[in-house]
Amino acid sequence: MADARPGAMSRIIRWIDYRLPFVQFLNHHLVEYPTPRNLSYWWNYGSLSGIMLVVMIATGIFLAMQYTPHADYAFDSVERIMRDVNYGWLVRYAHMNGASMFFILVYTHMFRGLYYGSYKAPRELLWILGVVILILMIATSFMGYVLPWGQMSYWAATVITNLFSAIPLIGQSIVTLLWGGFTVGNPTLNRFYALHYLLPFIIVAVVLLHLIALHRFHSNNPLGIDLKGPQDTLPFHPYFTIKDLFGLVVFLLVYAFFVFYAPNFLGSPVNSMPANPMQTPNHIVPEWYLLPYYAILRSVPNKLFGVILAFGSIFLLFIVPWLDTSPVRSARFRPVYKWVFWLLVIDVIALGWVGANPPEGLVVTVGQFATFYYFIHFLVLFPLIGKLERPRPLPLSIAAAVLQGGGTRLGGAGAPMAKP
């Protein structure tokens, strides 16, 4: 781009680029980068998640400049940010709700991957790196939630760190090590603060690996078939920059709505009370994005086994590329999986609902059934459906399907460019 019209500026850029091919790099990965031409809006969630990570780091750094990581002052220092720091309320509400938005984006991104088989060969490592990012996000968000040192911060920290006490023999020692003492206290807060500041940058590093893996074989697409040549792709810029920008603005509308008009809707009122080690809230719940795991944990009567299943529900995702035996990626051509996918979505929502409610009566039954189904879905249905299902015929190429109508267009998550 820089060499379009020679001038002083472009000569400087060329001089630098010869020695440090940065512009070339950007050109290769953000401008010319060949992208499947049939990507739907479901492919916006990856870049949106990346932008959200930047927003979280930026707002987080400004909050860290005003926050006091001490058990006696943390709560009040957060209130000071809300009241007396210029636009402190904005930065904090953006950070607080940003965490929820980040999870909405990443969960949608992952369900898209599950629907279109984006984890299948040769993208297994891409998927695995994504699961690593999810685990890091869960750790980061949990420790971030502890920092305001409200009632729910304190008790969530107590409950979650106590999970490690389920480990036989060394469990209690691990918990003491995590706490830095014999109860959740100031040392716990200090180390959580240090780690909460550190982990996002590790996430950035894993995101870079995720991108390297992505650019090796390029994006998957709604048809789930390989790119066969330049006729199947469009350059990233301007086609996908503008599409991502439009998606970004629509997402920001949702985000801004929460920040400005419902900033506390996704949080718990209990956390507006300062931490009180002498008084347990009558109902301890994690943030909404951790509710499904919490539901799995509570559905198992045995503590150790509950912890194993809750962690297992995430670690299970690592082997998803090998559990799915179907040679076809996109659910569009998989008549059975297409429906079973939605069962998983319903199942996870049900688990979230179970996690939000006290474990009594119906909640327990639904929770146990949904937990059972979650594991059956991946461990039994995934391999079985792949073997038994007869996939529909795949189109010859993306270009054939998109440009000639192809006869492969199906309902559901559509092909936005498939105009005959």
């Binding site: 309320w89 904005l90 920008l245 998606g247 603005v249 920040v259």
Partner: protein, 255 residues
Amino acid sequence: MLKHVLAAATLSATISALPPIARAADESPPLPHQEWSFDGVFGTYDRASLQRGFQVYKEVCSVCHPVKHLYYRDLAEIGYSEDEVKAIAATYQVTDGPNDQGEMYQRPGRPSDPFVPPFPNDQAARAANNGALPPDLSMIVKAREGGADYVDALLNGYKEPPAGFNLLQGMQYDEYFPGHQIAMPPPLSDNAVTFADGTPATVPQMAHDVASFLTWAAEPNLEDRHRTGFKVMLFLVVAAGVFYAAKRKIWAPVH
């Protein structure tokens, strides 16, 4: 195409909006929803109501309840002039120090002081209140499910206990308090205060005004937030239109 974005947003919203099941132990009637001036996208605080609410807080609640996150200077935001704020602050005695002799001393309050708490610490507060701790009210509206509606309902919710209800010694029955046993005696009675603007000081009126005041105490930046939010949303709606048009134009040749 847009429908996918919307579908995702709706799905996400549904997940978070699923109603929690009411607990069996908690048989409180549903909170009556009040009309609040600060509700909605354009909501602002009603200054007259906030000032009346401040008066109720000052003359009634502050006997037991601190609002430690408020400073006297903050009162300028609810319509008091600089001189009025100074005069209000000066009616309180603030412990300051230590001075050159190493002694703590009392001086009249200044606008830069936080609201003076009624008790020196939690233990003193418990000792004076039959063992119960009157909570700090600066965040009470944010810290209770139902917010201002809850505070309003609680203050109006004192009743005779139903037959057979085992009310403990020194406790009151309140319809909306979790478990219904509340240590706070009914704080409001008709004409407990005399409003300068002539508004009749009925219990519902005082409850409404003090709930408004406490909402402001919990969210002093609400008006700023609503105003800024409207500008941001407006900008984003316009930007979405522009980007969508640009997207259509750029993609037209390759469809």
